[in-house]
Symmetry: D2
Subunit: 211 residues, 4 copies
């Protein structure tokens, strides 16, 4: 992909957005349905969940706002639109089931937001953008799954909504390697910076805590 990246940079893509001054952290869809390999839609995302846990720990120490998403539908899927025609396995995601809870290794704490979404983007049909704006956040650090689905859609919308968009490489995962790499490439070329976990942690540690 190095050649492709060079080609893009020569055409004026793939520059650094950089970190802003007031970040928030978003954990996309690290819910049991996806992170428990025993679930029909699940896969083993243990390394990615562990990386996300490190990100969360650093964020909480600095009182950086933390957000999660999950996906859940009503009985009969009246709220799943045409999406469920394309992806019938969404039928595994139902209100009132344990699978839609955030993975226990990342347990949301009081004061953190868990947004229930119906589609790919964490911004679509939620008040996430408004909440980040009201908190004067200018930067969104993204972890979660899957890179080629909800993470990509969220990164595009994060850029569109006006935020410095940072995807933490070790903390996002996909069921398949090809789409994972291809989408990290696109995100880094057009919407946000794909950075190493250590770089994101350094940034969070370096923030001046507000009093």
């Amino acid at each position: 992909m190095t050649e492709q990246r060079t080609f893009y940079q020569q055409r004026g893509f793939a520059q650094r957005v950089g970190f802003g001054n007031r970040p928030a952290v978003l954990i996309v869809d690290f819910i049991k349905a996806f992170t428990d390999p025993a679930c029909p839609l699940g896969a083993d995302f243990s390394p990615q969940v562990a990386a996300a846990a490190q990100l969360l720990e650093a964020a909480r120490k600095q009182r950086v706002p933390v957000h999660f998403t999950t996906v859940a539908y009503e009985e009969g899927f009246p709220d799943a639109g045409v999406f469920i025609k394309k992806v019938p396995s969404l039928a595994h995601l139902k209100y009132g089931t344990p699978e839609i809870a955030v993975d226990e290794r990342l347990q949301p704490q009081a004061g953190e937001c868990v947004w229930v979404k119906k589609y790919a983007s964490s911004f679509f049909g939620t008040a996430l953008a408004a909440t980040l704006t009201a908190a004067r956040c200018d930067t969104l650090l993204i972890a979660g799954c899957t890179t080629s689905g909800c993470v990509r859609a969220t990164a595009v919308d994060s850029c569109q909504n006006g935020f410095h968009t940072i995807v933490v490489a070790e903390a996002v995962g996909d069921r398949a390697e090809g789409p994972h790499q291809a989408n990290l490439f696109d995100i880094d070329a057009k919407y946000g910076d794909v950075v190493a976990l250590v770089e994101a942690l350094e940034y969070l540690k370096g923030l001046r805590t507000e009093d």
Copy 2:
């Protein structure tokens, strides 16, 4: 207001939008916090709730999609934005409390959507518009409270999102009569038709049920 209405009509406002072919019904914020006079934000909306119940009954008979909204915030109100600075009484609306449940007289049934919103409009931060579009609805019948708050904001967004907007006069209520009347006037002048309950019921009864 008759004079005002004439003035508006002469200027090309306040025409009839009329009913479309595929309606949905939306009950805005008829939750215990607002409909139980014992709650700090509550008022006696018994006649309006009864009218909404009639609307629901007619809709359910015809298998017209039914939607509800409620308002609920996380601990510490990180998702209440600047809205809660303006309206501190929003602090009564918290996840995990019985007050945010829909009024029992209107009990949502399986297959009906209950949208949790954070702001005035039922469309803001929800997938309501997408859900109506995916169901090919073209008309939204609105009941609920308050006329000058969430009903008005919802009616504006319903028009903006492309739906024939119908507000059922007897099924919407406010804490104060002045704002109630003023907002029905504005809605009818610019965004949707304010109709009598009997007219809405006739319309629903006259629909050809699809097989």
Copy 3:
């Protein structure tokens, strides 16, 4: 309305949102079609336009971002939705006509945004919220017309999108006094602060210009 205001304040409404740290100014629909009394939709908004001009002057001195809106439709009004069924006089607002230009007394300057909208809210179908967020604005000062239409809808959306919402009383106007007053009341009760022009000017003058 004093009695009504007291009633609202006792119920936990109508508190002060206050000014934030990074404002932008928005002039809603002060276009010839509305501000030229010779146009079919026009009225004499001279005092309001003069107040808006003062606001603009103060904003420009402090390099505060300035935004305008206009309304324009394509031939045949394919982009006017059901709105034009309700308000047929929207047919006066067409691309390529001089009436959709911003009033010359408020002439937009290079680097200021003019958003073409199709509906009431300045946020609906525009990238205004994203643009304000990307510029790290936290406050929106609103002028324009009409109070009961596009100003009200814009103020609701400004609050919903996470901004401190300030409506400048002398700089907003309506075709009719009743709706004007009623909507200022509602805005001040629920969405933003209605302030005197002098207060807004003081605020802008007191900003520390960034270098």
Copy 4:
């Protein structure tokens, strides 16, 4: 990619959404800046433009609504957010320049909408979804460029907004083959059907014209 597709289908992805009953056609960013190889951002999309022209011809015969997008920024790029930090070459897209006009081979006709967007998705910051809904469209046929950028973002949002999403394979193009194929794969797996031009033309020809 066959193996990958099989894997996805076994997991309940990549089913057919199919065509609905009321389509619209959207031509994404086939503007001179991108389709004229002499422009800094341009490439030779002649085959794709020719395919889009066939699609347009079929749509116009059947009076199917036609939409276009372009991208244009104000002087100084106040409306380009953080996107222009990531993609500095967006600076070639300015109001008042010939490059932002739709390619002459696809010349928009009276009554067709040209949406000016600021970001990747044709739905973001435009009233496209509302316009499609108001016209009771249920299906969006997508052509344009680039597959890995604005076409992908538009396809995701089309699905999210409730439309049957159809991407016409021969009518979408990219500057690089890898991202082109990878994004068609993702779109077909999760958001819409990637179909051959001949299939789209058959569908349009088979529509019963409404009187």
